[in-house]
Assembly symmetry: D3
Homo-oligomer: 257 residues x 6
């Protein structure tokens, strides 16, 4: 069996050896969510998994299986649940999954954890999951697990954004199925991108509030919230380099690696 | 974007077209669980995903993302939670995940579902998840979703088992990290098998009851419950052919495909 | 007040004396479930209670009140919830009841527990209930409770089954309201058996999968899954002797009694 | 199989015939709780079951299995959880059990239900359980189930209390393991009463508030809250007659029987 | 910033100083519930908050924010949920809120707590909330928090009731929107009382049982369960003096203040 | 009883009249959270309540009681739970409270709701609470409730921020106990502000990730995340005018008022 950076590709005994060396484990949080007519629905699984894989190689860590079903898509950040194929779970469900994974890894001896999120809406249920997981571990007598929790897109240089958006960055929330994600997918899985189908109906113009149920026309019909035109694998490469370099640096700094 | 049998590799609009044709969706249930020193811990993800993929091709269905964290491993069927790397969730958590997926797919218009299980301990929480999912859908006014639920290993011909176990089949429960799973992994992911590490400490001799906490020595130290010697990709091929053919046949029969 | 093997027939002070001697407590798990037109619906309460009573006498233990509402009946093992009178609870509900009982007994000082199941579908929620109960006790500082968990029907000699089924044992799952249960009820509560109503519509021919909602005709109309003809109190006696002897032996062995 | 007033002593087909006639079902709520050194711990099971049995005979109803594990005993009404043998469940657990029973009976066609409580602390979780059960049934399209919920001890004539307490009735809350319950047990199960052990340490003098954790000496050491001296089967007979007559009358009136 | 008896009107640093002196905290439990056509719906918030405020001044304690949404109103004690404006939560929700508050205050260092209830139906979910909160704290290593739990109306002298009800006190349960609450509101918030609208349709005549769904005419149309005529601020003053004096005395006695 | 914009200051019958006119209800979401040494802990209650009150007057709406216990404070946005006095609830608890309020108001006939949040961390549990509440209502046959959900601070003109922050706005997340909140409190409750205690230790310099447990020194010791110097009631007035005007406009637009 070859060496692997993926936890589940190890045997339990190989994993045990890693635990003995206080290995750092990454838990990527993904989703199955519409990303426009030009992208597959696994964008939020592919990207954070790829980032974790690269950072884990840099720091000698392991990547646990990516959670593939995320918290419910919201109209203003992901288009919302009404798009067919978006397959999501309730907040309590999501938090319990992460709680249980943390409890399980903690009882195995893992003391360094990075929860790396790739789906905007997961952010808060993930905060809760981490809190519940650490609470349970403390009650089981384990109080020395340290957890970093982050969104990969927050790790990018200002200069990179400037290169990507010469006319100004529209902001993270609208970056759904748009330039950044499309470029990263062109880098990672070009077979799952169809540039010919990039829509022209964006960018979304949202009010500063939510409305439920989602009104007709609230979300662009394509599900794409900002423009994806101009996406390229090269730009994906710029982004990926930032994500990996900056997260690697942060992880090293926090865990003294 | 190429055609794909994996739901999450489609765009939402491509998926919508499938829904309009009443596409059948497979939900593979996996686990991250020790499978002895000679197998990776993703056996229960790799095999049911592969079975689903093949059956889905046969019947024109789609495969949703595999649930990678299963219900807690039990000593008599999987070695138990004490093996490092086995990363599991509580029964309620597991059932809620499946409930939410079913509710989500049902509200998208999916009316034909196959829940295909690859981890013994998932069986009953999966029953609950299906029941809760259909209950919620009924309360949302959707009462015509039809769900098959199955364990892939129940689809094998007697003659195949006789060929595999000339001295008699030890039974499904002990088939953990043993001949069948090892052969299937040799077929599907030989890079995740290390035959040199197949242990000699089995087969497990369990009493007809559980004991908690698991006593010292209750489970073979290797985590392998029956013998894995003699496993081969060819035998994996025999099994896979049975699983795929018989499940295809059952699915066609149940859904009139 | 006479001595009693039933916990709830003792005063608290008498129970306290037993706890001081580290008494073993049995928790029987039952159900209120259809058992064909010829048997009452309390079969899964009567039998495990009777087994517990007899084993408890043998080992000087106590029998806690039987849980009378079980996990939801499944078509392939109990006929399913559609039969009127089958009155069941959700998996989480069942697990919480058992969790709470274990926590309550543990905080009273009980350290030896046997959870004896008489309803097939309870098996897995019972596993979860035991795990949750012990988890809570550990967090309350109690880590030395030891729990056995078993299905009574797994304690039978091969030779007894051969005597009962000269043409071959159809297997545990189909043993619902059939020869074994009918014989045991004839032994224990003949007033709750009406042999004249033993149906002829079995044995059930189930596929190797579940279908939800249960299709018309999936389950024999009588709710009886295998043949009950030939049942007798004498056969019930053979079975009961095996159950009691073998469980007594196992309990003695596990708890060093 | 003899006719029986107990639901679980019927076959499903006999029960089905009753349902077709709109049978009224009683669900007795009990507990396993200390009742002093002179009474068994099943007092709250024995009495409500007996009341239900008699009323059911009067009105042609059926008695479902008694819930044997009640909500947590409170110091001021039952002595509290610290007494060994008191085996109780959390409020949510109790409410879920009752919810599920009501949903299950409602889906069988039952439209008339009496929830008859025999354990003070069950009162409010039972209110919640009924509310949740009816809520679920409404969402399943069943809105015509009618439920009575009562404590049996509220059905007694003033004149009977005057006969029993010539010096004044100390009130329901203190009636734990005292004159009323002891008399009823002498009537119903004299084998579970040991009058020689009636303690002298009562009556309890409680403040008008709870304190947690329960302070030393808050509850009489015996667990008996008021005096049990003078209890007799004859007095139990007076009480039982009132309970049965008055509840029968109320049930007939509410359900037009 | 002025000194305040209300916890939330302090800065965190001022609160920290109080914690260092082992300050006693009051948690008032209220509701938003109909109180007849002559009273506002915040009666169960205004009164317990006012009682807490006064007692807290007496004993040097702090008053945490009042819980404004209570457990579901019941027909026999509050008129029931059908009255528009009654806005309530499920039992589990209520218990979890109180559990979390207790856990949060306990982890801050609070060791003396008074949970003071102003809404009849909150009583039992509050018992559960306290139990769950203390259970969690124990598991977090904090076992020395002491909690008093009380209903303010239980602190009144017999002589006061005799003065208020020369013809006899109808009892606590019917005291909903009636003489006592109306008088207290005239004292505390006369702007929220409209004596001209005091209805004449009471007192309610309830059976000794609940019926669900609530039958037509079960509850007086006004929502007032007993007579409110004769209410006055002066009578409110008599009551408030009793409540404050007697609760102050009990708190001092229990906490040795 | 005077007319009031606060729902709980109406009688049920006055509220009923409002419901008949399809009144819009505001639910303010608050918290009890540290806001530095110079502000009381009820900032997140005072401000959203005041905003709701003013907007409700503008549009003829009603303000339901403010939820006073919010979701757990996070280090990067509120300082975190470690500050004494911050008293918070779990995500599930918070969502259930909001779910129940929405269900309760919906069953009363309310069809227009504004959920106005004043505590950053409440945002996502509020999204979940709204979703669960509307889901329950739909299952109860009510599908025409429309809900706006917003954070009040998102309603401010760019020009106002420019006036307030001539050197550039540090961003919403750091605006905790800083210039904006301090100014608003000086306007609304100057008695709860102590400008002399405004700390100098900010602004916080957070990394772009969370760390759990919160490391020493991660959060400024004062709990203030950005500078509060320069706060004034006049600036509070500028802000309040924007919040009220812009939210009024949005509400009118969404609900066609």
């Amino acid at each position: 069996m070859a060496e692997s950076v993926f936890l589940a590709e190890l045997s339990w005994s190989a994993f045990q050896d890693k635990v003995a060396k206080n290995v750092l484990v990454f838990v990527p949080l993904g989703a199955t969510e519409q990303h426009g007519p030009h992208l597959a629905m696994n964008v939020d699984v592919v990207i954070p998994t790829a980032v974790c894989e690269r950072v884990a190689r840099n720091v000698g860590g392991l990547v646990a299986p990516t959670i593939a079903y995320g918290y419910k898509s919201q109209p203003r950040s992901g288009g919302g649940e009404a798009f067919p194929g978006t397959t999501s779970v309730d907040a309590t469900t999501f938090a319990l999954v992460l709680r249980d994974i943390i409890r399980s890894l903690g009882s195995d001896g893992i003391r360094r954890l990075v929860v790396l999120n790739g789906h905007f809406e997961n952010s808060w249920p993930a905060v809760e999951g981490v809190d519940l997981g650490l609470r349970e571990l403390r009650r089981d007598g384990i109080s020395d697990m340290r957890v970093m929790r982050l969104e990969y897109w927050d790790f990018v240089q200002r200069s990179t954004l400037d290169r990507l958006f010469p006319e100004g960055f529209p902001g993270t929330e609208l970056e759904h199925a748009s330039l950044l994600e499309t470029s990263l997918m062109l880098l990672l899985r070009p077979d799952l991108v169809d540039l010919a189908k990039v829509p022209d109906d964006g960018p979304a113009k949202f009010p500063t509030y939510d409305v439920y149920p989602t009104p007709e026309g609230f979300v662009p019909a394509s599900g794409v919230l900002a423009r994806a035109h101009g996406a390229s694998a090269e730009k994906g490469e710029w982004l990926m380099r930032d994500h990996v370099d900056l997260i690697t640096k942060a992880v090293r700094s926090e865990f003294g690696l």
